[in-house]
Structures are given as C-alpha cells and as structure tokens.
Symmetry: C2
Subunit: 304 residues, 2 copies
Amino acid sequence: MLLFRRAWGGLSIMDVGFVQNSPIFGRVKANLDHVTDLLGATDADLLVLPELFATGYQFASRREVERLAELVPDGPTTKRLLAVAHQRRCVIVAGLAERKGRALYNSAIVVGPKGLIGLYRKTHLFYEETLWFTPGNTGFRTWNTAGATVGVMVCFDWFFPESMRCMALSGADLICHPANLVLPHAPNAMITRCLENRVFAITADRVGAEERAGKERLTYIGTSQIVSPQGEVLARAATEGEEVRVVTIDPKEARRKTVNRYNHLFSDRRVEWYETLTLPTAGPAQPRPNARPGKARAVRRTAG
Amino acid sequence: MLLFRRAWGGLSIMDVGFVQNSPIFGRVKANLDHVTDLLGATDADLLVLPELFATGYQFASRREVERLAELVPDGPTTKRLLAVAHQRRCVIVAGLAERKGRALYNSAIVVGPKGLIGLYRKTHLFYEETLWFTPGNTGFRTWNTAGATVGVMVCFDWFFPESMRCMALSGADLICHPANLVLPHAPNAMITRCLENRVFAITADRVGAEERAGKERLTYIGTSQIVSPQGEVLARAATEGEEVRVVTIDPKEARRKTVNRYNHLFSDRRVEWYETLTLPTAGPAQPRPNARPGKARAVRRTAG
C-alpha cells in the first residue's frame, strides 16, 4: 500500500521484504495457502519469495517437473500471486517452474497490483536442475516499478559475478534473489555483490530439508537477507524456521555510484581490459565424468 | 628454496606468504633494509609485499611521486628485490612507484632468482592516486613460475570483479594482491573473489597510518591474508603490527573448476548474456563535483 502512497507523495522510500518458507514437496495449493497465511498483516511495497517456493525443489524426474510446471501467467501460482499483489497493492517476486511449449524453465515472475510485470528464466542452472530445466533465455532484465529499478536473478546465479554486474550496469537499484541455498557461501558473498555494484539485494531462501526418490538429503540454509549498497545486512533470517521480514529502504541510495570524490564505480571501469569476459569460455580440459543429458536435450528442444 | 627442490621432485606444493610492513614515508633504503630484516629466516617459494611498500603511500604532490618513482628493472627497489629473490631462491611480488618516460605508474613487479619475471600497472586507481599516476596499460597478466600460474592486481583492483575474473579465465592459480587498504571491506570480499574464481589469493597489506601535507589521516587496516579456492582463510594477520606469514598450498587445487558433477565454474558461464560487461560504461549522470585533473593529464600524457 505504501508503494502507491509514497509514489504519490513524491517520496522514494519503500518497504521491502522477504518470505522464508518451507514448502511441502508437490503440494502447490497448500503451499500457496500457507504463504498467504504467513504474510498475515505484513505491509510492504515489494516482497520476494524463494525459488520454486510453491512446488519444492528436489524433483525425482523430468516427468515430475512437467507435472508441476505452470504456464505464465495462466498457471495457478502466477494467478494466486497476481491476486495477492492486487489485494495488498504490492509487487511480488517469486520463483516457479515454468512450462513454455515443450521447454521447462526455472523461472521467477514479477507481479504487481495491475498484473504481470516481468519474467526471468534462470541463466545458470545448478546441479540436477541441468537434467530437467532449459537454461534461461531471457538474460538479465530490469523493470521500473514502484519508484525503483528492479532486477531478478535466481539462486546459483549469485555465484557468477556477471549476473548482478549486468543488472547493475543496466540501472538496477534492487536485486531480487529467490533462492534455495544448500551451499553456505551466498549470504556473505551477497555482501560483496552489493558493495561491488552499490545496489540493494533481497535474498529469499527456504528452510527445511528434502530427501526424495533415494537421492541425497538437501538441507536448505535459510538465512534470507536484505543487504544495502554499503554492504550492511539490514535483515537476516535464522537458518531454521519460517520468517517474514520487511525493512524500509531508499532505492536512490543505489544510484550514487561515487566511492569518493575521485572514484566512480562504473565510470572507473576500464572495459578495454575486460575483453576476456565475453570470449567463449573453454570447457574443462577433460570431458566431465557426467555429461549433462538434460542440458543437451534442452538445447535440442530450444533449437527445435 | 623449496621452489626448486619441489619443482625438481615433480611436486607442485608451494610455500607462499606475505609480508605486512609499516614503511616510513620516503625512506626507501631504510624500508628495503627493514623488509629484508623482517624476512629473517623465512623460507618460502613466493612472497607478496604490499603496494608501494618501500616508499609509503600518501604522496603530497606529483613532484614527490616523481622524486620517488623508479625505473624497472634499474631502480633501487627492483634491484634490491632481485638480489633478495636470487639469494633466497624465491619469487617476490611487490608494489612500487614506477617511472616510464614521463609517465608514473602504481605498479607491481614479479621477480625471481633469475631476474625480472613480470610487471603489472594498476588498472583501477584509487582516490588521489588519480592525481599523480597514469592508469595502468598492461591489463591483467599471468605468468608461469614455480609450478603455478600467477596473476597480479593492486589494492583497489579488488573492488572490480572483472580484475580477478580476467586473470582466472586466463589460467591464474594464485592472485598476488599488494595493497594499502584503508576501507574495511577487502578481506571478506577476497573470500568471495576466491570462491567465484576458485583461485588462491594473497593480499599483502601494510599497517600504520599517514597524515602528510595537511591531508586527512589514512589508517591502514593490515589484515593481510591468504585465501584458498574454497574460500578458506589460510592465514590472516592482525590489524596492527608487522608480520610475515607463510602457508603451504597446492596450486593444482585452483585448476579444478568443477563445483559438482553437473557444474563447472567456467564452462557454465553464459557469455551470450554478458555483453553489457564490455560496453563502454556511461559516466555519472551529473558531472562529478571534482574533476580528475591528474587522470586527464595522464590521458594526455599517454596519448602524447
């Protein structure tokens, strides 16, 4: 609600937050209901939910992903979030399994009171995701909404500094980062990411564990957090337990890229020395022990 | 000494370290003598010394830099380090003010028992450095020495993820990082840098403070450190006090870029979505309050 009041008042401050949930695998409707309950009386301009927050993460097979993947915006998850965004007059960023033609994407949507704002398809797939999802074909996008320029990346994208750099260079003030973290590094690394780009970031992670279809147990680290462009942790959730947190930020803080009177984070970049960054990367010297059938299939599917 | 014994034995482990010193401004010979004393009986294959370790950092004027800058390899600092490297049979990476024609660079040299191995000129100048130094024109180089591929960056270069990324993509196992840190962020950020690139890094920082020519007091944060490709801090110095530390590493650890059986840090990069990274960066929307006369001069000098 503040979103519009503040925009009307010419102020740029926003209340932004995350929802840290613990979905039950495959029970989409129950998970959507539960997240709606979790929100309770939360009043925010923008909320970030985890990656695959309504399906769960550890798929047993591609067939299972096919069964749970949804159309955007006509699937139940997008429709429910559109209703919540409309009712609460807020922007919601959330991860879901998307079906588009024969392709499956690990996607995130941006929805607002007036409808679907944006769609991002995960660029850097992690682990077994490479077996069922097609690598994203959207690239790193930004959207102007509620007085901020918002970019979205999903979970493992954080590991590649290129992800947030591209969005920051495109003008993002705030990076929304739905995640299902199983490695311990992201919360501290996201401080570096915010510093190096002078942006806000909201990582919405899940908690709980999954151990399905005889696979290894995945324990999610929670630790959802909101970081400022100065690398301050404005809010950090616990490693266990569901939690909703909201903080007030001024997205304009992310537009001052001056480090001091002599240095500017972006105009000091010396792109003439960065050529290596966009050269095709040589693969591993040796073939990897496990090929990536999913990725190979996905590439064929995209090409077809 | 181990450098050669190990290379002969076909082993790849190395003893690598840093020297954290506290130079007296402008007293080059005394500072060189003192660093030599600090080394004492230290036995290492590769040692990193801080940025501008023999001159001090806070120059009062460009004239003062001109007076203290040296030719490479014919100046007193390079000559002394060549002698030390020869005597100790080790590789030394160290920062110095370099004079080349009419240009002055904030440089780092790589010297070994047999002579000068490499030269790097700081790409991203910090604060008043922009008034006296010319932005580096070497780009990010790597050298094969003592069984490792070594890259060099200087201090503020760390803030730009492009610096270490370029060196890692060029095959660097170990990043040598002479620094004079005044901001608090680098030690933790270097953990992210090592993780995202799966490389070792040695940051050699200075301690003490300078307050010269009526300028603001600069307090250096020490905290020199060595980080592994897994983001482990293998050694970290205190914020005060001179210190020499050496740890044993296996540079081959930096060559395994596989995160798990499905992910490889480099071949998973999707350069088709990174185009923004090498586009000329738009400058600040508004002219900065303080132009950078030194940089402008430097550009003219380079062009002339």
